[in-house]
């Protein structure tokens, strides 16, 4: 009886020590939570989430001030990843913040542009080049498609154009599982 108790106690102590040691030895030195959340956000910097950019939204999520379903550019997949990271339930995108759209880029109609530089000031990633009184152009690879430049333009010469698939960006589709069809 006593031996059994002693053995059990011994095992408990050894296991406890091992676990404690492992906890110290293998401690994960992760990035702070904000960085991790920010890494998931699409960096479109559009502000649709209600915060001035992805980083502020990441901070708000980390502080529990915002929900995880407020970023339309990140889409359902983004919400899923956030849910995974934070160990929360998945929820569909909240509609008040907008809907998921195919990725687009801004294109300036250079004939119409009056060179007022308002769009430059609006662009969160400095993707528009041009000097005052000169025609402006969007540097396509830099544009995140946030649409923030569209509204400020006094002559409405900025249009959002969905990115077409090219041979370069085309992807193989998921193979169709034909099991069911045969049944």
């Amino acid at each position: 009886m006593i031996t059994a108790i002693l053995v059990m106690a011994g095992i408990a102590i050894v296991l406890g020590l091992t676990l404690g040691y492992a906890a110290i030895r293998f401690k994960v030195e992760g990035d702070p939570l904000v960085e991790k959340i920010d890494a998931i956000l699409p960096q479109t910097q559009c502000g649709q989430c209600g915060f001035p950019g992805c980083k502020p939204y990441a901070e708000a999520i980390a502080n529990g001030e915002a929900d995880i379903n407020q970023c339309p550019p990140g889409g359902e997949e983004g919400v899923r990843k956030l849910a995974d990271l934070l160990g929360r339930e998945f929820k569909p995108l909240s509609e008040e913040h907008g809907v998921e759209k195919p990725k687009s880029v801004a294109v300036i109609d250079e004939q119409v542009c009056i060179g007022c530089t308002l769009c430059i000031q609006a662009c969160p990633v400095d993707a528009i080049v041009g000097a005052a009184k000169q025609m402006h152009t969007v540097v396509e690879p830099l544009c995140t498609g946030c649409e923030l430049c569209v509204a400020p333009c006094p002559v409405d010469c900025i249009a959002m154009v969905p990115l077409a698939e090219t041979v370069h960006t085309w992807k193989w589709k998921y193979p169709v599982v034909e099991m069911r069809r045969v049944a």
Partner: protein, 338 residues
């Protein structure tokens, strides 16, 4: 829409399973001739049960029934279940075994290719735990008429001691446990033939023939049978040399029980086994080691089934730890062969 490759070798799951069934036939024929045709009855019962259960489960899981039943995998499972049961078990035991294998082990884990455990071995283990007496009645060679066997299978009264003798492994273990006999003395008993259990040894030869056929057809690789037989022979030789009075010879171990059936048909089950070459060696070797330990020191006369299940649990780990190096990453590859 098909994409490359547009051509395929003329192989299929059905062909693979069909060849396995073919390879089992020599052993089954020997079994029917030497022990009695009772095994054929049980084979029929288990086949019908397994195929029926397979079809039902596929239907319930809303999968196409025709191709999946046609792949013969349920038949292979059924045959293996029966062949590791004693041939005169009552019909309901066979049915239970087949149901456990197909429903619980195979389909509840997701169907063909998904089961982490060997269905036949789970069936064997669960039945021997539930019905130890029935699962230990192995008829001696050529002593029971077909009528008697049929009666027993159909649930006739069982005068247990009168009709069945102990198997070779059983006799050996009881003899040695009693402490009065040595291996040699036990082996003089009526249950023993030239190599192992009388009659059973020739069935083993039949399984070996089938196994060699599978090897020749490249359905199985040499790794598992070799490792299994090698380790079993190696360790039993070692202890036999140390103390021939207490430990049986390697030949006895190899020819007794289900060793050969296991080496070529059970251990080599692809779905629940290891997949890398080194993993296969470790997997089969591990089974042999556990089987020998249980045979000599455990509570059951035959330990292969438990060995298989224990090693099944290790498969993910074995596979992960034994990933072979890929092209260009061999240690000696850089300088090439020059």
């Amino acid at each position: 829409m098909i994409h490359s490759p547009y051509v395929r070798k003329a192989v299929s799951v059905q062909r693979t399973m069909g060849l396995v069934l073919l390879a089992l036939i020599p052993g089954i024929v020997a079994h029917a001739l030497l022990i009695g045709p009772g095994v054929l009855v049980n084979l029929a019962i288990s086949t019908i049960t397994a195929v029926g259960a397979e079809a039902l489960m596929l239907h319930l899981r809303k999968r196409p029934v025709a191709i999946a039943v046609g792949d013969l995998s349920a038949v292979v499972t059924a045959w293996l279940v029966t062949l590791c049961f004693p041939p005169i078990v009552p019909w309901w035991l066979t049915v239970c075994g087949a149901l456990v294998a197909i429903v619980a082990v195979k389909h509840l884990y997701g169907g063909l290719g998904q089961n982490p455990f060997n269905p036949a071995m789970i069936a064997y283990c669960s039945m021997i735990v539930a019905f130890p007496a029935l699962m230990s009645q192995w008829p001696p060679a050529g002593q029971l008429s077909f009528d008697t066997q049929l009666a027993l299978i159909l649930g006739g009264a069982r005068d247990i001691d009168g009709i069945t003798g102990a198997t070779a492994l059983d006799a050996l273990r009881t003899g040695l446990r009693s402490g009065t006999q040595t291996v040699d003395a036990v082996l003089q008993g009526s249950a023993f033939g030239a190599l192992g259990g009388r009659g059973w040894e020739w069935i083993s030869v039949g399984y070996v023939a089938g196994g060699l056929f599978l090897l020749a057809k490249r359905i199985i690789t040499w790794h598992m049978p070799l490792a299994f037989i090698g380790v079993l022979a190696g360790i039993s030789t070692l202890f036999w040399l140390l103390d021939p009075g207490r430990f049986a010879s390697p030949l006895f171990h190899l020819a007794s029980g289900g060793a050969m059936l296991a080496a070529f048909f059970i251990v080599t089950d692809p779905v629940s086994g290891a997949t890398t070459p080194r993993g296969k060696l470790l997997f089969a070797g591990g089974i042999a080691l556990i089987a020998w330990l249980i045979r000599n020191f455990g509570a059951y006369p035959e330990g292969i089934a438990f060995g298989v299940l224990l090693m099944n649990m290790c498969v993910p780990l074995l596979d992960m730890k034994t990933q072979p190096p890929v092209f260009g990453h061999h240690k000696d590859a850089k300088g090439g062969g020059k």
